[in-house]
Amino acid sequence: MTSTDSSPAAARADRPRRGHPSRGAPLPLLVPALVGLAFLLLPLLALLVRAPWRSLPSELTSPEVWQALRLSLVTATLATAVSLALGVPLAWLLARTDFPGRALVRALVTLPLVLPPVVGGVALLLALGRNGVVGQWLDAWFGITLPFTTAGVVVAEAFVAMPFLVISVEGTLRAADPRFEEAATTLGASRFTAFRRVTLPLIAPGIAAGAVLAWARALGEFGATITFAGNFPGRTQTMPLAVYLALQNDPAAAIALSLVLLVVSVAVLAGLRDRWMTTS
């Protein structure tokens, strides 16, 4: 593209791209940035320093660790899928339609973010538990009880993780030009087709970012999970639960487990980032 071309189509592509060489960051930004980075990384570094490297191999060969890790990955992925399936339409509703009380609905959507996860778990029990407001009917009509099941883990994780996705996708939708949808409509696309074939691809990076956030949150989810789904190895004991319980009497094992969780999540996130986020 030439710099003399001033058409908007070209101008839009002129957005700053990642990886541009910076001309030296100003000190008032650089210093707090580095302090912030250190603040975030120091605890992780401490974990590495104090890790029981000698006993690590034996800690990690226990089948329970792999069981918990596998369960964590599966449930976090499923919770992300649930969040995507429900959260993206919800984000669209919040960003693109106008209805009375929308501001309130948006605030309510973010409620799980501020709710202590344990309280979230109790709330889920009260709603979807065997004796819950809705759960009793699920039990009576379909024989479905969510607590103490893997499905319950997914529900708890999705409950906590979905707001991240909704907020992220809604922000992207708001930033996206709604006129693309209008353009699609004038070409004969129904509103849903316009969303599916135009909006969705346009906001894909935002959705991916939201999904990654949600996945990470679901992977680390502890309070709501243990409260709603309980803790049973292989069924509802995810890594964070295993870590927490190991911490009770064997901190070394807990550190080892945490390291596994960290390594796996960093690997997955880095992998996804390369795949999804650099193609835009």
Binding site: M1, T4, D5, S6, S7, P8, A9, A10, R12, A13, D177, R179, F180, E182, A183, A184, T185, T186, L187, G188, A189, S190, R191, T193, R197, V198, P201, L202, A204
Partner: protein, 363 residues
């Protein structure tokens, strides 16, 4: 509403069931109200011309169904469209900045419409390819919009709108996004395509040159209402509002004519070549104005006014002088002449205009 003196072409379109566009667009938005009647015969290109905020784009959106009508009607080829959702209207739109889908190739952008309207993927792409071919863009079919130049993007947008075979083609400021150099070329091309288009085309622009080159008929909109409409030459010759006069570069005054003299409301008189009576408009181009620093004694001009320079603006080798005083007016002169006169804001000058260079017409 201003009186709508119809042309022969439109008279037939106004009949119910007749081909073409027959609309009265009313959009009420609290402080702003658009109320515009618009008719056009198939093959006709109508330009909605007006200043920013006049409601041109709102009218266009109403035609496309993107903004609901508060009142009025919208008939296209005899079919009522005012309750039809935009995706079901046979209306193609070229948006101001084209709004090409950035994630689709030029070909898929053009194929989008046919695909949405039920064509198979292969058919839609074949159709799109032929449209791109017609636009001279065959080699850019695979390119993403961001790789296209402004002019190319404009043609893809036009192909995309035409690919749904619309009975009404809408163009929103089709040339505004282009730089001056490409604009000339694209305007010529667009004129060619519009001339070949067999249904109604409505374009919105604030540029009188675009409107005059591209459109068969102009509809001038100000503050949500039509203030004048007619063929470009007519409008250029006989502007009815200051806005149009400025657009076409004329000094315009209203007054009451008595023979060759037009007495302006609360101002001086202008002697004209035309002899009229009653309320009239008097117009003359800025180039017809001659300026003097000293009161000209031997001048034959009967229109002589004492003015003061309010501003200077250069247009190429010409200088547009904005004058206030006895008669506010704009005068064009060469930079050399301006330098000789030593013009600067606040400088007192005498302005004259020959009666033969004025044009008076009933208001």
């Amino acid at each position: 509403m201003t009186d709508l003196t119809g042309t022969a072409g439109r008279a037939s379109a106004q009949k119910l069931g007749a081909p073409g566009l027959d609309a009265r667009l009313v959009v009420d938005r609290g402080a702003f109200r658009l109320d515009v009647a618009l008719t056009a015969a198939p093959g006709e290109v109508v330009a909605l011309l007006g200043p920013n905020g006049a409601g041109k784009t709102t009218a266009l959106r109403a035609l496309a169904g993107l903004t609901p009508l508060s009142d009025g009607h919208l008939r296209l080829d005899g079919t009522d469209l005012d309750r039809t959702p935009p995706e079901c209207r046979p209306v193609g739109v070229v948006f101001q900045d084209y709004l090409l889908f950035p994630h689709l190739s030029a070909l898929d952008n053009v194929a989008f419409g046919p695909r949405c309207r039920g064509a198979s993927k292969a058919d839609a792409r074949a159709d799109a390819a032929s449209w791109l071919e017609r636009m001279g863009l065959a080699e850019h079919a695979a390119a993403r919009p961001r790789r296209l130049s402004g002019g190319q993007a404009q043609r893809v947008a036009l192909a995309r709108a035409l690919a749904i075979r619309p009975r009404l083609l809408l163009l929103d400021e089709p040339l505004a996004a282009l730089d001056a150099r490409t604009r000339l070329e694209v305007r010529g091309r667009l004129r060619h395509h519009l001339a070949a288009f067999e249904a109604v085309a409505v374009l919105v622009t604030h540029d009188p040159l675009d409107a005059m080159v591209l459109a068969d008929r102009l509809v001038v909109v100000e503050d949500g209402a039509v203030v004048q409409e007619g063929v470009p030459a007519e409008i250029a010759r006989r502007p009815r509002t200051d806005y149009i006069a400025q657009l076409v570069g004329l000094n315009l005054y209203r007054g009451r004519a008595d023979g060759h003299t037009v007495r302006l409301e609360g101002g001086p008189s202008i002697t004209t070549a035309d002899a009229l009576s009653g309320p009239v408009c008097v117009a003359f181009p800025p180039g017809a104005v001659t300026l003097y620093r000293e009161r000209p004694l031997g001048s034959s001009a009967r229109n002589l006014w004492a003015c003061e320079v309010a501003g200077l603006e250069s247009h190429g080798d010409q200088l547009r002088v904005d004058l206030v005083g006895e008669l506010p007016l704009a005068a064009d002169l060469t930079t050399v002449a301006a330098a000789e006169l030593d013009l600067h804001p606040g400088a007192p000058v005498w302005a004259t205009v020959k009666a033969a260079q004025t044009h008076a017409y009933p208001a």
